[in-house]
Chain length 190, copies 2
DNA sequence: TGCCTAAACAAGCAAGCGCTTGGGCACAGC
DNA sequence: GCTGTGCCCAAGCGCTTGCTTGTTTAGGCA
């Protein structure tokens, strides 16, 4: 364990970034959460941006690892999507703060050169989804009239949405996954 | 037409708020977009918040009007949902900036007393969705195992997501609506 | 012409921002 | 015992923020 404090700061900063937004969170707030003064942060980090960088790059690395392993785990497109949804559910939960940052502050991060890897990684994710949807269409597993690109956008965003729900009334994260998969493959009709 | 400039400022500010976030947009930027100085804004508005207020309250008023008219237009729950999706598509397009603000800066607005009506209006929207899903379940139109509350959250968020897609590659807003309805009722399976 | 008002400008205030600086304290190795 | 190093504090710098102030300008009307 090289530096517990450093890791704490990253985690606490992530929670604040997710809660208030990256730009709206001040280094003084981050420092206060960690029990030190703002100037002391700069002993551990170059800048506020590098804290955000650490959170986002770790998140995308884990997500991409999930996707790649799902693709190599099965030949069946429907099965691959199911794997992505199920393993993704846990990974996303571990990186809840980073995902929320990505959703809320995308317009900021996507314009900063430092975070250009975000676009690259998201393109790889898109490519995997589209490849699976297309293969499923060809194989006759999915509807032949499926608009692959539109469906991808809907599904990926749907999958990333529930992360910030506080499922209070008797529904767990697993319930959300099952409801999602059911809706995905069968819709709401009887 | 009481004041063209005032309306222009609201519209331009909305675009900036949607693009950069509410807190990250400065009154100087808004003023520059309108071709005046920041101080002159305060002849038309009390504060930056009141500009945001104008955008958000107008948006929610229009959305709720859609929902109420859809409910009173049909007895069939599936038909009501379809009406909400179709009319909502146009209303959401008209209020694109306000919807984006709501999505990106929800954590900010929802904690400000001034914007407490947001919670109230969203609760009414939720009640309408849930009532229709429940009625459809009872009537045997929807799956009997449908988790009503989870489904509502997924659907409403899904419906509000595509507003910021730049549908470049040959897919229009109408295509998105059709793809959504198809996915909603039938899923992706063949 | 003289007056009134809406709408703009020019300037700047207090507060808060990210970040830097210089120094102090505890503890390691010698 | 001395010194080096890791970690932190106290103070504050330069800049930006939302907003205020006092003044100027343009146009309608008696």
């Amino acid at each position: 364990m090289r530096s517990q404090r450093r890791a704490d700061v990253v985690r606490l900063a992530g929670e604040l970034f997710a809660q208030k937004g990256f730009r709206a969170t001040t280094v003084r707030e981050i420092a206060e959460a960690a029990g030190i003064l703002s100037g002391s942060l700069y002993h551990h980090f170059d800048s506020k941006e590098s804290i955000g960088d650490e959170l986002l790059s770790a998140f995308l690395a884990d997500v991409l690892a999930d996707y790649r392993s799902a693709v190599s785990a099965s030949e069946d497109p429907a099965r691959v999507l199911e794997l992505i949804v199920r393993s993704g559910s846990r990974t996303l939960a571990r990186h809840r703060a980073a995902l929320t940052m990505l959703q809320n502050d995308w317009n900021y991060f996507s314009t900063q050169p430092r975070f250009s890897y975000l676009r690259k990684d998201l393109r790889e994710i898109e490519a995997i989804w589209i490849a699976q949807l297309e293969r499923g269409k060809q194989a006759g597993v999915f509807r032949p009239d499926l608009n692959v690109r539109l469906t991808y956008r809907l599904l990926r965003d749907m999958l990333w949405l529930p992360i910030n729900w506080r499922h209070g009334s008797g529904s767990s994260a697993d319930d959300v996954v099952e409801a999602f998969l059911r809706l995905l493959f069968d819709g709401i009709s009887r």
